[in-house]
Amino acid sequence: MPKEPIQQRLKDLPLTKRDAEQLAEEFVLEQIGSTPAIGAIRETDSSFVIDIEVSYPRVIMDEATGEPRKTRFIELGKIGELVIDKFKGQVIDRPRYYDVQNAIREKMNFISESVEKALVRVAADQFSLLPFAVHLHTPVIDVLSWLLLRGSLQLHDLDIVPAEPAQKLISTLQPLEQVRLIDIRGETVVPGPILIGIEERFERTDKQLSAALAHYFREGYHFIDSIRQVLGPHLTLSSIMYERAVESEEPILLSLQQIEKDFNTFYRAERLLKLPRYLVQLEAIGVAEKEVRSGTTMWRGLPALYQNLRNEELLEPVGRMFA
């Protein structure tokens, strides 16, 4: 039997782990971007599976001087993986550019939302002191006030407001029921055990309402969307200040311009006129403080509140990312 030519009997040598690592690094930098890096490598019979990880850089600015102070890295962990064929030396499976982008965005949002939830819990009493008139349009305060003054709320009472169909309104009240401030019985809303207790403890209705709101913020933090509707720009501004504090491991002073820039990503420009008022209100309730540096007024979170925030268990997963 004729022998096979030697060229046909030659087999490609498989990639080494180092080759695969280098190939993956090239691929990530050229196809995905400069932020991700490669992590752990696992070898199978036919391939290398390589984690793609992100240490997200955060430059901590000294707002007083406008200069960067230090660079920290937020360990976002694994955001995808590459599979490299060991024999062909080719990437055979990979996340798309936008998959990585979304994964990073989601993890960054997780940090922001965790800070927001923790802040709502630790500053529940302070937030409940905001003047009611400044709260955004939300049925939460209206319904609590109604129950405190009138005892119960019939669905058909609400049908007189055509813009707010009763069922839709009821669904927005589910969070209040979850934290036992109200009971929804068929078509009737009545005070829940917590609201009844608050009524017994406080005589004045405004105090009752504040106490009910504080309870709602403290216990209903996981309904953060609903709480955002109540606290609106005040929560946004507080979160901007305390997220920076968490990143820097201390409350840092922010100029009005810096706050405006961040605030603008959440609210339309028309609201900028109100921003100083919101800050003054946050100062009045003990959530923010100001300091004048070289003639410029700067703002930051309160050190004591920041310490409580850092100790809040909701922030534990975020704390690990900053380790």
């Binding site: 280098q22 995905i32 400069s34 240490s55 850089p57 960067p68 960054m108």
Partner: protein, 194 residues
């Protein structure tokens, strides 16, 4: 030659001669190190480079405009490849960008001697922490007395000397990538190539 004499703070005010590359910080919450580095080089050519035609022909873009030109994202950062160099050459009219791999600090230094700054791509996480991480960009502007490279680092500040062995390790991880940006005499300033 567009150079200036400086004193290196933190090195007992050691004197050094560096290119007059202005320093711009990257946005404090984003991965815009590459566009910030490119902005430094762009403003060097438009404001300090000693050739009036190059000064006039070099556009002055904002950080956002540069980030758009380089197709950067605030999450992923910048894809560093030959397409990026081509986009920069197209957008910068009188300048041409070339991506080099396996470059040496000696070659970079020679460019600087001719008045040409170079953007170096290295592992910024490694340089700061000793742990490997994402890629980072900085602009080489000169060399300290002992041979340490001096960079304008958009994360930190201008005039940062890095210990050469550690910097070389951080640069090795990114296969010693360097983006050379130099004037192209063959290009007319209206953008057409002769």
């Amino acid at each position: 030659m567009a150079k200036r004499k400086v004193l290196l703070i933190g090195r007992n005010n050691e004197p050094a001669e560096v290119l007059m590359v202005p320093w711009f910080p990257q946005h404090d919450t984003d991965n815009l190190c590459f566009p910030a580095s490119l902005m430094m080089v762009m403003y060097y050519y438009s404001d300090y480079y000693e050739n009036a035609e190059i000064n006039a022909a070099t556009p002055k873009m904002s950080l956002d405009q540069i980030a758009d030109m380089c197709l950067c994202s605030r999450e992923n950062g910048t894809r560093i490849d030959n397409d990026l160099a081509a986009r920069i050459s197209e957008g910068m009219r009188a300048l041409r960008a070339t991506l080099k791999l396996g470059y040496s600090l000696e070659e970079v230094r020679k460019h600087a001697e001719k008045g040409l700054p170079t953007i170096l791509i290295y592992d910024g996480h490694y340089l700061l922490t000793g742990l490997r991480g994402g890629a980072h960009a900085g602009v080489y502007i000169g060399t300290a007395k002992n041979g340490d490279p001096i960079l304008n680092n958009p994360w930190v500040s201008s005039l940062v000397p890095y210990p050469r062995p550690k910097f070389e390790d951080a640069w090795d991880i990114r296969r010693r990538r360097a983006l050379i940006i130099e004037p192209v005499v063959q290009k007319k300033i209206d953008g057409e190539t002769q």
